[in-house]
């Protein structure tokens, strides 16, 4: 019995005349449009309130203003981002699945247990891919000659200055996307696309994941990460490995900035990342990925809904 057979598609989109790919595209783009617009409004409102309550006046030249903005407005931005991800991303995604496709939302998203070693391996592969992603960004940063003031401001926005801020950042930047973005991209978009396109779905989802972040500098590395996360989802038929890997990637980024702040690490965009370390970590990552493939040897069969069978 395949998964397709066990889910009852009783939503309004599930009619023979309706294109499932159109549902996936409409859903993800629609939610993206709502999310980005409402998030910007929320960030504006919260920063205005925050500035008024704490009487923040930006002073000095452009560089000083950029630095001050990053420091003072960090908290309202983080709060706005985490609220937006839950309210404008997660809730509409669940609503769309329920309304358009099926009332069996948990089953559709594939919130189900898988083996611990599969989750741990997914996390480890992500850990060792991280230096390569940073290296790619570093190349672009250097080629563009981005001045230190902007790099500092960017780092400051994501650098926790205290333990409590560290916890807030983990919640806003690591936990929230690992839940909300995973459910939108893997649980809805890839899951829906998979019903028609099979294996191609994880590559399309990965690239879209990169594009959605609207950061041209990190487009290549985020798309690579997106493809990896989507593959974990496709291979395991569970959202847990990709969520855990997503959490790991974001957590690692905050942790490195936190350690740098405390003077225990220097691995940030403006610093050189040794090519040797990058190659070594890439090799370790490839090795771990092969182990992952080996332990998840039994491949799932996906029934594409026009009757063809794809792996």
């Amino acid at each position: 019995m395949t998964e397709t057979d066990t889910i009852e598609y009783n939503g309004t989109w599930e009619k023979p005349n309706r294109s499932i790919i159109a549902a996936a595209v409409t859903g993800v783009i629609g939610i993206g449009a709502i999310y980005f617009n409402l998030e910007s409004i929320l960030i504006t409102i919260l920063t205005v309130i925050y500035k008024a309550v704490y009487h923040i006046e930006l002073s000095g030249g452009m560089a000083a203003k950029i630095r001050e903005t990053s420091v003072y407005l960090k908290t309202p931005i983080l709060i706005a981002v985490s609220i937006s991800e839950f309210v404008f991303m997660l809730l509409p995604t669940i609503w769309i699945i329920k309304k358009w496709h099926t009332t069996e939302v948990i089953k559709y998203i594939r919130i189900k247990f898988t083996t611990v070693r599969e989750i741990v391996l997914a996390m480890l592969v992500t850990v060792f891919i991280f230096p390569f992603s940073s290296f790619l960004v570093d190349i672009l940063v250097k080629a563009l000659g981005i001045p230190k003031v902007i790099l500092d401001a960017n780092s400051m926005l994501f650098t926790p200055n205290s333990n409590s801020e560290f916890i807030l950042m983990i919640y806003a930047i690591a936990v929230t996307p690992a839940i909300c973005e995973e459910i939108l991209f893997r649980g809805y978009f890839q899951r829906t696309l998979e019903r028609k396109t099979g294996m191609k779905s994880f590559i399309i989802t990965g690239i879209l994941f990169g594009l959605f972040h609207m950061q041209p500098l990190t487009l290549i590395s985020l798309s690579m990460l997106g493809i990896l996360l989507s593959y974990f989802y496709y291979r395991s038929q569970s959202i847990l490995p990709s969520s855990a890997a997503h959490f790991t990637n974001n957590f690692l980024a905050i942790l490195l900035l936190f350690l740098k702040q405390k003077g225990r690490a220097n691995n940030t965009f403006e610093n050189n990342i040794s090519i040797g370390w990058v190659i070594l970590s890439l090799l370790i990552s490839a090795g771990l990925f092969l182990i992952y493939l080996k332990i998840t040897k039994v491949k799932p069969v996906h029934v594409i809904e026009d009757g063809r069978i794809a792996m």
Binding site: T12, W13, A23, A33, G145, M214, P216
Partner: protein, 398 residues
């Protein structure tokens, strides 16, 4: 009595048609008439189903359109049908858009480069020779340059209009089950329809601006009452603001009322005034629905385009960013010299032109087709598939 089209029993009193041919509704009559003149190519009898029957496998879009023939399309139907239509017309539309927008876009890119160069040199002159007399021949050269730039913008706008007519025509024909060739589309673009659509757009802009200007002028007229001591200043100001808001709201209302005039012109080839009337008739009682869906579609299409355009713009503007960061890094981080930034802008002219063209091509691949599906949805809702009925109703509802 059975419907000629779907062969279902017609509820008594609701039949449409005459001369021995009766239908459930105007849509069925329309389909039956289209089929009988060979516009819809599939054979209904052999499939035993109507075009919107879910089991139909006809390759024609008509048969894959999803909607309820009595109530029109849901929001999901509109999105699903529009995406199908985008897919079906993609190749022909991209050819038309590239044919019309790429040559004019290249011209626009050079025009923008030229414009920025003029602006940069004007700024430099103002800074360098402040107080001195400007050479008249230099000034004349700049004025001629500006005129050429305006002409280039005009050529681009005309090319864009042609491309849009082509896309609308492809979409309308496709939704009726007719696949037309590129040559047919080009013939349609270079027909009387082009003049009509251009005139319709000019009329629309004039009407909307006229209403807003009337609102502003009436505020000044109200000032006369102050002079005549009828009202005091405060009352006149409040009334004036109310009048301007009312003018804007009315113009906004008309904008959506006449939203489908362009599609109607391309689809039916009717007169300009009639297209406004028919659009008003279709939107009547559906204004809020039209407004909401148009806003939603604008957001969705805008976001989809920005997803693609964001990395592309970054690549195109690579040199500009490098230059900007270089200035910032070389100690100028607290202020940027306006002449220096204008110089940077002058290098952006071609890039802006390319970004504008790609943006318009991407938008035009999607937005007009959503518009067409919405137009057909309203036609279904209003049973507006009989020209005579449509004209009659339109005349009585404007």
């Amino acid at each position: 009595m059975k419907c000629e089209y779907c062969n279902q029993e017609i509820p008594s009193g609701s039949e449409v048609g005459s001369n021995g041919h009766y239908f459930c509704n105007q849509l069925h009559r329309y389909y039956w008439e289209q089929r009988s003149i060979g516009n819809i190519k599939y054979d209904l009898n052999s499939q035993g189903s109507s075009p919107y029957n879910e089991s139909s496998k006809s390759p024609e879009l008509n048969s894959s359109l999803g909607f309820n023939p009595d109530n029109g399309m849901t929001l999901g139907d509109i999105f699903s049908n529009s995406i199908n239509l985008i897919k079906e017309t993609f190749t022909r539309n991209i050819i038309i858009l590239v044919l019309f927008l790429v040559p004019s876009g290249i011209l626009l890119a050079f025009g923008l480069k030229y414009f920025f160069t003029i602006m940069t040199s004007s700024a430099s002159i103002t800074q360098d020779i402040e107080g001195q007399q400007i050479d008249p021949s230099q000034l004349l050269g700049k004025m001629i340059g500006m005129v050429i730039f305006v002409l280039i913008i005009l050529i681009f706008a005309l090319a864009y209009l042609g491309a849009e007519i082509g896309v609308l025509n492809n979409g309308c024909k496709q939704i009726e089950g007719k696949k037309i060739s590129i040559n047919d589309t080009i013939s349609k673009i270079f027909s009387i329809t082009y003049i009509k659509v251009a005139a319709e757009l000019i009329l629309l802009v004039l009407a909307l601006m006229g209403i807003i200007i009337a609102g502003i002028l009436s505020m000044y007229l109200l000032k006369l009452f102050v002079l005549l001591n009828v009202f005091n200043d405060v009352t006149v100001n409040i009334l004036g603001v109310i009048l301007i808001i009312a003018a804007f709201l009315y113009a906004f209302n008309l904008l959506f009322k006449w939203y489908f005039a362009e599609v109607i012109l391309v689809h039916t080839g009717c007169g300009i005034i009639e297209s406004f009337k028919r659009s008003s008739y279709l939107v009547k009682n559906n204004w809020w629905r039209t407004f909401g869906i148009v806003i939603l579609i604008s957001l969705v299409v805008g976001f989809a385009v920005s997803l693609i355009l964001s990395p592309l713009s970054f690549v195109f503007m690579w040199d500009y960013y490098r230059h900007l960061f270089k200035i910032m890094a070389s100690g100028g981080e607290n202020q940027i010299n306006p002449v220096e930034s204008l110089e940077m802008f002058s290098k952006l002219g071609t890039t802006f032109g390319l970004i504008i063209v790609i943006n318009l091509i991407l938008r035009s691949l999607a937005f007009p087709l959503f518009q067409i599906v919405m137009y057909f949805d309203l036609k279904i809702r209003k049973n507006d598939f009989d020209d005579a009925v449509g004209k009659l109703e339109a005349n009585s509802n404007l």
